[in-house]
């Protein structure tokens, strides 16, 4: 019974947020810039414009228009881009693989580096390595993504000439998905932007692993295991790290949404043909349909991830169930 309540209230919240996001998206669509002016030909007469207005349903009450907008959106029609006159849904679908592959690489990299570094800092909190890592992490937070990207380009692309600095390299089409994972140039191209995006995430994961490890290491069962004389390698990695990783995995999951949004900056630096670059071009050209669609898409992704994580938590952790009931 409790579970059902939690589930329903969470889904209700998610639906509410999506309704708000879609309303903002609709208002942008409808009131920012004049759709009639952008869609009618250069010297259209007043009658022609009125006709277009009627055929677009712009003479209806705003609530009715919003309803229609919702219906159209749900059926996958997000309008036509002002800038390149193509369906927005199609544009986003084309760009989606590039961004997702970048985000996957960044997530894997940040976990592969962040977890060991965090453990290192937790096990020897006063060691030189730990202090160095801590200091560097503060520098990491203070360095904007685009600066990291520029420095990496300067070093590895311009000075050393090892890695490409823009584009995806050669991609292979697998049906509607184009991947850079299958060619050498594709993989090489992923490296620099992947690292740039990962660094933003790395600090967070490292700090989290460290805090969780320190917490777990001071708990009773670890002390008991030490008292029993279990080897410290076993204690640290089999017992402590496993328990410390639970929240880390959650946060990493939650961060995928922000990573997609943050990819905007990385994609601009590396001219990576993903959704972020599409969005930033839309912003500079005031291409409202693309902006509105991106907002809807990213909003949906955020709400989806948050809701799933919350519900999973309620399923996994009985304490949370009791508290929210």
């Amino acid at each position: 019974m409790h579970m059902l309540k939690v589930l329903l209230s969470r889904l209700g919240q998610a639906a509410l947020v999506m309704l708000v996001v879609s309303a903002v998206s609709f208002l942008m669509f409808r009131f920012v810039g004049d759709p009639v002016a952008t869609m009618s030909r250069e010297n259209a007469t007043v009658e022609e414009k009125a006709e277009l207005r009627r055929s677009l349903g712009l003479d209806q009450p705003v609530v009715v228009q919003y309803g229609r907008f919702l219906a159209r959106t749900l059926s996958g029609d997000l309008g036509i881009s002002y800038r390149n006159q193509r369906p927005v849904t199609q544009l986003i679908a084309e760009r989606l693989p590039a961004t997702l592959e970048l985000v996957i690489v960044a997530t894997v990299l940040s976990l592969a580096l962040g977890i060991p570094l965090g453990v290192l800092c937790a096990l020897k909190p006063n060691g030189i390595a730990a202090r160095l890592v801590q200091a560097l992490s503060l520098v990491g937070i203070s360095t904007p993504t685009f600066v990291t990207g520029i420095v990496l380009i300067l070093v590895f692309a311009v000075s050393l000439g090892w890695l490409p600095s823009f584009g995806r390299g050669q991609v292979v089409d697998l049906g509607w998905w184009s991947t850079g994972f299958l060619t050498a140039s594709g993989l090489k191209s992923l490296l620099l932007p992947g690292i740039t995006l990962a660094l933003y995430q790395l600090t967070l994961i490292m700090r989290l692993v460290r805090a969780e490890m320190i917490d777990v290491l001071s708990s009773d069962y670890i002390r008991f295991a030490k008292a029993r004389g279990l080897p410290s390698r076993y204690i640290h990695f089999r017992l402590a790290l496993r328990n410390a990783l639970m929240p880390v995995i959650t946060v990493t999951g939650l961060q995928i949404g922000s990573l997609i949004a943050f990819a905007i900056v990385t994609e601009t630096v590396f001219q990576w043909p993903g959704m972020g670059l599409l969005f930033i071009q839309a912003v500079s050209f005031a291409d409202i349909p693309v902006m509105a669609a991106y907002l809807l898409f990213v909003g949906l992704l955020f709400v989806l991830i948050n809701t799933v994580v919350d519900i999973l938590y309620a399923v996994v952790d009985p304490r949370l169930r009791a508290r929210s009931a």
Partner: protein, 304 residues
């Protein structure tokens, strides 16, 4: 015991570690240089007539081909980079500061109202805050500036850029203030002095502003330091993406954007020096902010 000890000097009384003191001095120095840009900059970067293309893309004075007139070299228009950076830092700090002031004002007022009245008002304000918080700063800021771009015609966008940027950043940052102030206000509202104020019939606005506000201000000041660093970074990011300050009136982010176009031709200084200035400024403010947070507000302390 305490009376026997020699009266401690200011530094020991604050009890900050040396790294924090250094950071504080550095941050203040950068802010001072930026504020005094008009007097200490060797050239006036806003005076378009003073640029000469013959001086364009000169490397820094300390390199082999450097020109002693331009300490950090020149940009693609022959503008002295050091002067442009000083003026740029001024723009960055002004916009960052403006955004913090706007976010703090909005957040404190809404937080006071939500915490004082509770009930439906509280629910509405906090729900809006939740929705805003579920989106990253940069995305919201881009949306705001994108919408502003669509509303204002081209020339006006450049003119209004600072205000648009301040709004774009503040729209996300106020939430943190509102949440903190709301929680503190709820605690204060339950106390006797507030009840007494209500009983003797003081108007609500007076109770909130004159009596509750002073008691909830200290976390606001702490949050502001960290938010200043974040706001400067967001402004730089927006300007770098080309939706912030125009090249005619550049912030540090705009300078990095300009420099980014020349990185491939081996002209590294146009991008690198402003980037360095930006990172040092933000790092210094962050170190001070982190320390302040731990020192003055144990409740806000993050696990480290």
């Amino acid at each position: 015991m305490k009376t026997l000890a020699p009266s401690p000097g200011l530094i020991t009384r604050i009890g900050a570690p040396i790294s924090v003191m250094v950071a504080a001095v550095l941050a203040l120095a950068i802010v001072a240089c930026a504020l005094l840009a008009a007097w200490i900059a060797p050239y006036d970067p806003t005076d378009l007539a003073s640029f000469e293309l013959i001086n364009a893309e000169l490397p820094p004075a300390f390199t082999a081909d450097g020109d002693a007139r331009f300490l950090l070299g020149t940009d693609n228009q022959g503008r002295d980079l050091l002067s442009a950076m000083l003026y740029g830092a001024r723009v960055s700090i002004a916009i960052g500061g403006g955004a913090v002031i706007m976010a703090a004002t909005l957040g404190v007022i809404l937080g006071l109202i939500a915490g004082y009245y509770g009930g439906r008002v509280d629910a509405v304000i906090m729900r809006v805050a939740d929705v805003i918080l579920s989106f990253p700063t940069i995305l919201l800021a881009l949306l705001v500036s994108g919408v502003a771009r669509a509303i204002f015609p081209g020339a006006a966008t450049a003119e209004w850029a600072p205000l648009i940027l301040i709004c774009a950043i503040a729209i996300h940052e106020w939430v943190q203030y509102a949440r903190t102030v709301r929680a503190a206000t709820m605690v204060e509202t339950a106390k006797d002095y507030v009840r007494a104020g209500k009983v003797i019939g003081l108007p609500s606005r007076r109770i909130m502003l004159r009596h509750i506000l002073p008691n909830v201000m200290s976390p606001v000041l702490v949050i502001s330091t960290i938010n200043l660093a974040a706001a400067v970074l967001t402004e730089a990011t927006l300007s770098f993406l080309g939706v912030g300050m125009p090249p005619t009136y550049p912030s540090l982010g705009t300078l990095i954007r300009i420099g980014n176009e020349f990185v491939f031709s081996g002209i590294w200084w146009i991008a690198l020096f402003p980037a360095l200035a930006l990172v040092i400024l933000v790092l210094a403010v962050n170190i001070v902010g982190d320390w302040l947070r731990d020192r003055f507000n144990p409740k806000l302390r993050v696990k480290r």
